[in-house]
Assembly symmetry: D2
Homo-oligomer: 345 residues x 4
Amino acid sequence: MLRVALFGAGRIGQVHAASVAADPRADLAYICDPATEAATTLTDRFGGVPTTDIDAVMADESVDAVIIGSPTSTHVDLLTRAVRAGKAALCEKPIDLDLARVDACWAEIKDIPHTVMIGFNRRFDVSFRAIRDRVAAGEVGRLEQLAITSRDPAPPPDGYVTASGGLFRDMTIHDFDMARYFLGDIVSVHATGANLITESGDIDSAIVVLRSAGGALAQITNSRRCAFGYDQRLEAFGATGMLSAGNQLPTMVRYYGPERTDAADPYVGFFLERYTPAYRAELDHFLRAVEDGRAPSPSFADGRAALALAEAADESMRTGAVVTLGCAGHGQAQRTSQTRAPSPS
Amino acid sequence: MLRVALFGAGRIGQVHAASVAADPRADLAYICDPATEAATTLTDRFGGVPTTDIDAVMADESVDAVIIGSPTSTHVDLLTRAVRAGKAALCEKPIDLDLARVDACWAEIKDIPHTVMIGFNRRFDVSFRAIRDRVAAGEVGRLEQLAITSRDPAPPPDGYVTASGGLFRDMTIHDFDMARYFLGDIVSVHATGANLITESGDIDSAIVVLRSAGGALAQITNSRRCAFGYDQRLEAFGATGMLSAGNQLPTMVRYYGPERTDAADPYVGFFLERYTPAYRAELDHFLRAVEDGRAPSPSFADGRAALALAEAADESMRTGAVVTLGCAGHGQAQRTSQTRAPSPS
Amino acid sequence: MLRVALFGAGRIGQVHAASVAADPRADLAYICDPATEAATTLTDRFGGVPTTDIDAVMADESVDAVIIGSPTSTHVDLLTRAVRAGKAALCEKPIDLDLARVDACWAEIKDIPHTVMIGFNRRFDVSFRAIRDRVAAGEVGRLEQLAITSRDPAPPPDGYVTASGGLFRDMTIHDFDMARYFLGDIVSVHATGANLITESGDIDSAIVVLRSAGGALAQITNSRRCAFGYDQRLEAFGATGMLSAGNQLPTMVRYYGPERTDAADPYVGFFLERYTPAYRAELDHFLRAVEDGRAPSPSFADGRAALALAEAADESMRTGAVVTLGCAGHGQAQRTSQTRAPSPS
Amino acid sequence: MLRVALFGAGRIGQVHAASVAADPRADLAYICDPATEAATTLTDRFGGVPTTDIDAVMADESVDAVIIGSPTSTHVDLLTRAVRAGKAALCEKPIDLDLARVDACWAEIKDIPHTVMIGFNRRFDVSFRAIRDRVAAGEVGRLEQLAITSRDPAPPPDGYVTASGGLFRDMTIHDFDMARYFLGDIVSVHATGANLITESGDIDSAIVVLRSAGGALAQITNSRRCAFGYDQRLEAFGATGMLSAGNQLPTMVRYYGPERTDAADPYVGFFLERYTPAYRAELDHFLRAVEDGRAPSPSFADGRAALALAEAADESMRTGAVVTLGCAGHGQAQRTSQTRAPSPS
């Protein structure tokens, strides 16, 4: 049985606590959060010891792995300490808002054998993953155009946006990772944004266009608010066909009446509901990597690459120009220096 | 150019007049109706001479074919006279409400070479026909279960129901023909009806179960009123798969909002709108049969067989028991005595 | 924490064992099956003590409830003993294949305060339940026609059919319960069956038509084999609209290519996969009833009524005639004699 | 009866000839094409006199209107001559490949009272038009994001691409017009293209991002080849909901089998088949404008604006930068100088 410590008892911490509790191979050892009450609420329900003592968690040799679901600003520190303590780490996205800090983190950990995975949950969504696998199996021929639609049901509270690093680092980062999941290295980025919804002054609507090293084009459409709920769709257009994934519905019920027909249910919930099975599959992949001593995926390099795309999108927004990315950069180096074989997924 | 006389300037007459006018191979010679104004309205728009003189129409040797869209009670007389006058005839369903009169009509015309077609328009619907052709081509293996849903948008006016011969002779007769179109000879009928909608006392909701000579089962669901419009669907379930046809929509538009998603348009119209292309294809088939001297389909025998099923359904309703039909009856004899080769469709 | 004993370590036993293990309010006390190995496999995975000793289970006062998932022939005996032992019971369908034995069982238990629930899992399917609730809330007006399609992916092994009491008692019984769930008391039954698929000689394809006390009509279509998988659909047609539930799909993926478009995944699995969440919700309802001392639903009377419909369908098949059922029969009496208030669901 | 002369007996000329023949208000006077045989084939079928003499057509005072479906290089000349001859003109897109020539044309005709319409057929598609009308009626609140997918089934023959002015002027021009139809004036353009399909060296895959004067963003996805057929879709995302239009299907048939379910038919045909009803509605709008003396829409200014966007997209492709367009330019001036009231559509 793997013993897992969880950092962060907030919304995402709750998801991970439930996933660990539901997984037969893992037990919660600690839930660590300065908000003792929140941690206790979770340990009461899912097991483990509530604590505020990071040092004690890191020093506990019985702890095999940590899940980092605390605020973004704490990720680099906790990740570095976990690797030094010889613990496997599943870290929520983004690694940090600042690419320089991410690179500094990498410099610290790259020579220590480690098992580090970044929490891009959508790679584990059953529909997106199926499309990716079918594309990889050649079902639509060479992939030429990828379209990702990603809209949140409602904008985050005031203050969140600035703290989160803005739309591209906070929200689009998932879509950047999806684009890389399907297309590999991205060589150029162009971003167009608009502030249509909130009073924040930050962009809340965006269209980003990417070009991959292999020549394919990708397009990401984002909005901070979607009247019909969490809108998460994808189309993979290839030389011989297309695969698409529409939104999931809570039931299979359809209504027919005088004013409309074939009407489906409203979408319910947000990422916690939509991606519950994906979070479970993500944890399962992480635990298997820990057990088998294999490198999990998405890797630190994947987390770094998505952030680099967010930074490029910000620059494109400022200048209006396409931003070109070096192809054989940090990611390659990192993969070279990894001490364990990369996972196929 | 074939010269066509149309009997009946009512709702269905208007459809046929438009179809003839749109067909490059045919011209309207006459529109014959005691209601002169209605006939004139149609001839003004679609051509031909308005008339009330049936004898003159039948005597005009330049008339190649007649379309009988007048009230049901006039069908047998007009059909018999047309055959005697050597004119091809496309007769609306039902041939008559009384099987004995239908058989008497057949006795009159069976020894005269003739081209007679009954207007079961749904055989010419592009979706139903495609399913039938694909079933015939073996795409779903042996056909085992056929489900037909047929609901009208609104009940007919008071008085219509009795005059029309009741639900089975008036409305279900189309579905009986569809069942025969897919399954061939029917050997038994069980009908269950209810009077849920109208004050007429006649049944307005029904479920009919058929067994075919080949062993397959068919099920027909009818209602005289459907809040969401004209509901015309079909499922053909076979040993290796299923083909279904849903309702047609006026546009491809879907709406997504807080209370519903993927909501299609309301259905519009009734049989005139839904089956406009089918009526055109039906006329095209008839004109080709006339030109080529081939027997059109559905034939007189098909019209007779659908009426026999309606009569059996009425009997089953009264007794609660399954009604068995003779397999090698009138239909066989009729087909034998036909002077032209049957069409494959 | 409720302590639950499970009878039967077969396919359905495994489902219930997993449900109990996943429910935070219940623990498995025993898994009782003559096949010790099967029981042990389950207790190893889900907890509890494997046993073959029914008496010991019934005598263990720490056991609050039993789940009866053993062969049908054992249901009545185990149910009676559980009630006598003061234990709540969730019994798989059917209660028995013989209505007389069911009535004898009722005579035994009716005067003992009891909590007995019958395992009609489909009442707990999220889509069917949503339709039923929306119908009950008046969303489609008065319910006039109910269409249930229920097809198994593949016929059961030789020998199963006879032992199972035939199609209506084994398979259609779920659909009879669905019809009652939507329409309440059924007053007449007509059944048409055919042996199209198997060599068993028993019918494997059927269409059943029901009439409810309220006048609505229901229609059930069954097949023992469905090339495209487990086919479980429902349409509720009312005076002002319709609600339907199509089949669930494993992913939201659609394929577009030269030969087909918008093609969904094949269906996967059978009732165990399709109704996993329903089995969990069923158990949850049962446990809540036990905790709150309320009568669960579906009740013993519901189990008896579905069996009575199966028997009527068999008789209709034999005679070809509609079979009429008494309306104010056993069900009423039973409900009267129940010692706890019926649940609203 | 309006007398219409058609220039061009090619593929698009054939469509217009059929539309005129089918319209009860118009007759074909001439079909003018240097390829006499092609013109004669059409006049034999649809009426009118075949000719190669442009001067004679322009001089014939009985001709009320001309339809210009000849090669793009002839449009400006024919349009100018038609306006000078006092004839209404429906001119296919684009007006010309060169914006300077378009402006010179406008200088020639702007002071002559005229009825000039540009053939952007998609404005008359029943689904796109319905969405536009529903958006205009406020059904989705403020329009924030527009997504247009437009893919041709197969690349044009060698030589066509260069002659056609490239992807943006030839193919995307329809999508530029759609964007303007929904969003009005466009203020900036960014285009990304790739040559993935053909050997032509010209781009055949593109993603274009537009910003409207009102702040909304639009995104166009193009491909010269689509394995599953002509792919024409649109999504209009607003503050309170979304409207989308998927592709039209030839039938409502769906297939269910072991390897796929709910599979629709392959798409058939190309723009001629997909937009046949739109071409008819376009002609109807034009003829009504001629009859009523009202300015048709899309206007010359609309044709000019779409071309300006194509030119901006080409520039963006070359530079990688966003190209900004003047808002109150030619279009405004033109509309001011128009001598007839603008149509509401």
